[in-house]
Assembly symmetry: C2
């Protein structure tokens, strides 16, 4: 089987933001769909992992977009594994428009955990290695995000039913939604997110009292965190650039 | 062209709730996808409406589910128009599992509005009437939902970036999410929603301060409302039944 997975999407108007553009969380869903199906077709999907009492956990994700698709546009997501280690797998993505032009790239780091202990468990490197590809992914790897949780007071939030995933934890995409909701609408009108990076540090549970933090680290670059009892369960870094096409 | 639209979906594990089942908001997204594409293929979709400076607005929606799909299940959504009036169109849906068995039905009422005035505008009955079907939809039509907003204090909520749709208003599916989040998780563990009905009365805007209301009208049947300055912008009625298969 081909090492590179190829998945097709058509943007839908009822999933677009107020500017008529695809959002970072929706792109996140496309990437997870692609990752999940690419893995399943090659024998290491959700079902295969469940049989071994293990589950994939998204550990880090970085998305860089040059252009945000608008209404009724066809998008192709390519995905491949570029590294398989004992505890982590690195998966890349390229997004292309209908003409085949790159509109963005993403990098993700996944760990396998034991479903009982929720602790990392060794990966089947031999199986995964058969699918390694050196296709280029010209964006920075997800890196260290500096803590900011002591610096800002934080906006309170409690995890709700709609926030939870099949494992009973805060859904990876919902972390993104809640973080992006901290930015003023004006910023979305004037700018676009050129890079969004998130690190998942521990699992949010139902009704858990959280605080959401945001701090401008340098011009147009923000550090963010989601904390529980003062300790980060997630950190993010968001870089904005002037919008190339404004509404 | 066939009067009945047929759309296929496969449930995805990262969109399921903590019970591993498809949620009412996700079903709502399937229905809107089906409605939107059925209309577009027959010349009265989003683009066609925009050309006439009009837009479809979902006015009422009732969903009855006999069974909730679980992980990696194939679902078919059938949709058709059963009535076309001067100001409203009634559209039905049937949901079927892979074996072709009905797992639910839905009914929706749509109005066309002028994009400038945001007021109702007459529909092109002749075009729409060519597609009327009398395929049975054996669930009650969306009806009157009694006001409850005076009865309960209400939970405060403000409309955020991720809540907004392409028209800059609260997304139809987000109304559902915020309402369902008012129910305790215990209820989702013990019961299933057998009927969910919602009426959209006016449009929520960014940062609008809202209150969310819930009151048990009779056993297992709740009336709900989303209010702005004490006036309902949406009302909903939710009927629960004991879960046929518990986790």
């Amino acid at each position: 089987m081909n090492k590179i997975g190829e998945f097709h999407f058509v943007t839908e108007e009822y999933l677009l933001d107020f500017r008529g553009r695809v959002t970072i969380p929706t792109i996140g869903n496309y990437l997870i769909h692609a990752a999940s199906n690419h893995a399943a077709l090659r024998g290491f999907g959700f079902n295969d992992m469940t049989e071994r009492h293990t589950a994939w956990v998204l550990s880090r994700l970085a998305i860089e977009m040059f252009e945000y698709p608008e209404r009724s546009q066809k998008i192709t997501v390519y995905t491949w594994i570029d590294e398989a280690g004992r505890l982590f797998t690195s998966r890349c993505f390229e997004l292309a428009d209908e003409a085949g032009r790159s509109i963005g790239f993403a990098r993700s780091i996944w760990a396998a955990i034991d479903m009982e202990t929720r602790r990392p468990t060794p990966l089947d490197i031999d199986t995964l290695s058969a699918y390694l590809s050196d296709r280029p992914c010209p964006i920075d790897r997800p890196g260290k995000i500096l803590p900011i949780e002591g610096k800002t007071e934080g906006l309170p939030y409690r995890i709700k039913y709609s926030d939870m995933d099949i494992n009973g934890h805060l859904n990876s995409i919902k972390y993104m939604e809640h973080l992006l909701d901290m930015f003023d609408l004006k910023l979305f009108g004037e700018s676009e997110i050129s890079r969004f990076e998130i690190a998942y540090l521990s699992e949010g549970k139902y009704n858990m009292p959280l605080t959401l933090h945001k701090s401008e680290a340098e011009n147009n670059k923000y550090s963010m965190a989601i904390c529980h009892e003062g300790k980060a369960i997630s950190r993010a870094a968001v870089t904005w650039k002037s919008a190339s096409h404004l509404i």
